[in-house]
Amino acid sequence: MTRIWRVRITLLTMFITAFVLQLVCVTAVYKSMWPDEYVQVMVKLFGIYSVHLSVILGAIFGGKPPDHAQPPRLLTPIAVALAALWNVLIGWRTVAFAFTAGEKVTDLIAYLDGVSAASAFLVTGLLTTYFIKANQ
């Protein structure tokens, strides 16, 4: 496995793990909200992750990177750290929602709306670099 693939798998695993963890957390407490609110949160999470996961999965299934393709050595740990930071920013709130009594769905949705939009810049560039440009 080339280095670019290792980075890709690391990022893919990170995004999917965070996404699934949040789905599980929300589903675990679905009885404490109305069905339409549960659907609203799920749709919101799918909406947030759909952009990034579509880039990742599209690049993976879209083609094999050239063998000589190498990720920028110094930028790789920064890219992984930024991706982790973004997932923590989004994920901690959902996990806290599931484990804290008295949390409200409306607050969670407002947080996800605001933070996901404002923090997208953290991952947009690195996903482009590692999953699209590497194939060129």
């Binding site: 407490v29 009885k31 404490s32 909200m33 109305w34 609110e37 929602f97 009594a101 008295g102 949390e103 409200k104 769905v105 409306t106």
Partner: protein, 265 residues
Amino acid sequence: MGGARSAHAEGLTALLWHVRFIATLWSDNRHMRHLAPLVLVLLALTSCASTQPVKLIAAQRVIIGDETGYNVEYEFSFMSRESVYVRQVGPVGASGHLEHLVRAEHLDFLDSRNGKILASLAITPTIHPSASPPTMDVPPESAFPTAYQSFPWTSSAPLIAAANDVLRRYFRYEPRNSDNLTRLFTTYAVLPHSAGAPDVPAKIALLLSFPHDPATNRYSLHVRTSVLEGRSRSDVYKTASDDAVLRAADRFVGQLVAQMQGVHP
């Protein structure tokens, strides 16, 4: 004016009684002669103060629906009467202590429904919250299903007084009097229900009325309930459909009525 005249008449009666009492002392005990004028003045002052038939205890400005109103607490005592009629409340005993919501600026006490005014109580706020007035969530009549529970009124306690004593422990309530029928609309209160549904908070509001049955010449208590259930992680409340909540609501109403009837004082 009629109320003022009545109050003055009652004050005068009390004053005359005190004058007779002092006169007796005056004639019986010569040492009292020096103190008698002072005692007379003091007694006159206290008798005038104590014969105000209605007294405002507390009033706080609140928002009821879209209107400004008051949560008012007052007591009243009309000597030589068996009952009076409070315009916004309906018939009540001659004396009592009530606390309820009202949208008017004053409460009128009449000798009967269309009778003369015995006294009028101007409502001026005695409690001044630092923030905006609290909102009282009194549901409209349309929020209550038409079905009701009926309880024969077996207690010797006056209806309004008994309802007031019990309701104010759990709710705020607004009396409305129309078509000679008093109805009490409560705010929503958290419905205590047994464990087993911790994720289903519920709240309940009541609409109480006291219709008179001419056939039996007895009053009965009709209770309509608006029961809402929510979810612990949601701000939204919807009409209750959970069996546990509905059973808890029935139990709660039963307990309230028992307390009103004096079964569980």
